[in-house]
Amino acid sequence: MCTTCGCADNAQLTVTRMHGPKSATDHGTHLHFPRDTRTRQLELDVLGKNDRSAAENRALFARQNMRALNLVSSPGSGKTTLLERTLSDLAGELPMAVIEGDQHTLTDARRIRATGAPVVQLNTGAGCHLEAEMLGLGLTELQAAAGSLIFIENVGNLVCPALFDLGEEAKVVVLSVTEGDDKPQKYPHMFRAARLMLINKIDLLPYVNFDVQACIAAARQINPDIEVLELSATQGAGLAAWYDWLRAGRLTQPAEVAREATA
């Protein structure tokens, strides 16, 4: 701290060779330039660029009469298996297509392609989540039929994808019983952002220490409106309710509403 005037912030100091007579504001070697900076007040939304891309995706979905669901979870929760099963079981009933997101490999896209559904793989490299602009590129490549239900399988990660609107109608968070019933408390942002929680692998409940009711209560503590379905993508239990949820088109509230509430 300067003992002459009490100013504290050395980061503001600029040293300049002075010419002419000594001014009133310099003392010793400590020079003040009170006017050497100006402050600009702003309201710049850091995610504005992503949100604009998301709005473009949303407009595309509306024009094409498409619905899009953003599937999010930690790695290994069974998202791809659930999609394989869903695409096979509902094939012929409604047009569906998939955008796969992973850091590396075409593995998941190959699995989806085997069901006959159109699929595009997005590899993010070091990226830990999909962003709206990436999805836009994927959609251009996908060329899904009008009226399609688009499943976006996000990068397996319960943190980062919560923050990035892709233009989807809803986020669906998949949680498997092998992961533990305390996931909602540990990753609250994702459970707050999701419309529906799917508790997967319930066929394994007899072998693991997972309290379904405690898990649901924890999720609703964070997000009182979250809907919940319990199922087993491999054994088939609970899938009928999931298919009803998809058919019912309960996708009426765009995800952007939540963001607008605080804008």
Binding site: L42, E43, V46, L163
Partner: protein
């Protein structure tokens, strides 16, 4: 590590609004309900600001508490990350603050003549 791509946006946006001047200080509003870690932002900012108008900029982060308004009784109440309900028992609410992620101030160096 979504803070990396968020920081890329911050540096890009700030440069667009800096009028070509060096930025001395950048103030950021970060809501506590946004899943963004201030320390991770600072770490990424150090790396990404190099060679830009923000190379010497100090990153100042204002954390904003979560606040919600009860949809039933209208009372405002604190919304922690872990979730909360209104004292009246209602679970329907509207988030008022805590989801901000904005650049709120740029301090720009003037060219000294």
């Amino acid at each position: 590590m979504h803070e990396l791509s968020i920081c890329r946006n911050i540096v890009e946006l700030a440069q667009q609004h800096a009028d070509g001047c060096q930025v001395q200080r950048l103030q950021l509003a970060v809501g506590k309900l946004t899943a963004v870690m201030p320390d991770a932002l600072k770490f990424c900012f150090e790396a990404l600001s190099q060679g830009t108008l923000l190379a010497d900029a100090r990153l100042e982060i204002m954390e904003i508490d979560g606040l919600a308004q009860c949809a039933v009784c209208g009372l405002d109440f604190t919304m922690p990350v872990s979730g909360a309900r209104c004292a009246c028992g209602a679970t329907a609410y509207r988030i008022l603050t805590g989801q901000e992620l904005k650049i709120t101030e740029l301090e720009l160096k003037r060219e000294l003549s």
